[in-house]
Symmetry: C2
Subunit: 218 residues, 2 copies
């Protein structure tokens, strides 16, 4: 059984560094495109992987050392033209991680590049990244998704800046706080972020809470 179709997973891992949305690329260890920067990806292992999500987690862990970032299926790219080895399917995922966690878990094999300034990449990886950026931006307009680009605890100002950096435009402070408050997916932690000015309340995502979606009305 099987039709000689190459079946892979690829992961677009986002992080926010220096105020810019960046994507993690790794050097390919084998042909095709050996030595070039590309998305972390690999074959699905029919023995071993439970499903493609597990495969994506495994591949991401192997290539970047990340343990359990936010991970969600993006889209499946397929066809005879996208891989020189033959007709292929790539089940793609996107993942979010804070730069702190990335720095502490990644074993320095990966490269960070700004999503708005990418070189030409192998396969259809530019297209996949563009698709992931579009998804991230659009989903950020109606969900708590950008939270996962921050560390465990963060201030509301940091959260707003994260939204602004992902979306590429400024948000109103009071409206933003009202919205976050209404959605009720954050809880204050005891600590306070102290710095050179007025200290800020710290928050974290309420435990056992799925990704919160904002209401839409037609």
């Amino acid at each position: 059984m099987g039709q000689g179709i190459i079946t892979t997973v690829d992961v677009v891992l986002f992080t926010l560094k220096e105020g810019r949305l960046q994507v993690v690329l790794v050097r390919r260890e084998r042909d095709p495109y050996k030595g070039q920067l590309a998305l972390p990806g690999g074959y699905i292992h029919a023995d071993g992987d439970i499903d493609s999500q597990s495969a994506a987690r495994r591949v991401l862990g192997d290539k970047t050392g990340l343990v359990s970032p936010y991970l969600e299926q993006l889209f499946t790219f397929s066809g005879g033209a996208r891989d020189p080895r033959g007709w292929s399917v790539s089940i793609t995922y996107y993942a979010l991680v804070s730069i702190d966690v990335l720095m502490s878990q990644d074993k320095a094999r990966s490269t960070l590049l700004r999503v708005d300034d990418l070189p030409q990449l192998p396969f259809d990886h530019n297209r996949i990244i563009d698709f992931a950026v579009d998804r991230l931006r659009s989903k950020s307009t109606y969900s708590a998704l950008p939270c996962h680009l921050l560390p465990e605890v963060f201030t509301l100002t940091e959260l707003q800046q994260t939204y602004e950096r992902v979306l590429g435009y400024k948000l109103d402070k009071s409206a933003f706080r009202r919205k976050i408050n209404d959605l009720d997916f954050l809880e204050a932690v005891d600590e306070i972020r102290t710095g050179v000015h007025r200290p800020a309340r710290l928050y974290r995502i309420k435990p056992a809470r799925n990704l919160v979606l904002f209401d839409r009305t037609i």
Copy 2:
């Protein structure tokens, strides 16, 4: 090359009949589950299919006779447990068609069942349909998607009823019309739908228009 992974496409084809959202099922022609009702689906042909979207179109045409319904990728289901033949990938699509077009193009091999009253189906097809219904409902709250469940031309009242039947709740007439008007994706046609009461203006989707999305603001 290839890892012995079964690679298929499955399509959830929706239509609206008797005011109910229904899904098209076909009898399986071969094992496993030969003779049972299931989603129209089949192997990807690495020779012949351009990509999985083409494969989905081909399969849908072969099994239901439909030529070019609205078709969009849904999700990719995968794993070792979902198909008795082995580790498998199903790239799933959902499609929308008006009952008129379905009746005229389908060669009567297919069965229509209400999505809220399905029997147990083979593989993970119940899960796939549930997933498709969720997607259709949620996307209908912020897009022109339900248009594709109607014939070429329709009245605004018919369009509103279509939204209401998909979403499962009533909408306000004036607000609905304002929204549709603002989005500007319909154009009036010359004809008028005449009936037993006041005649209604007929509309169609403006040509060369992508699926219109409503604005969302965080």
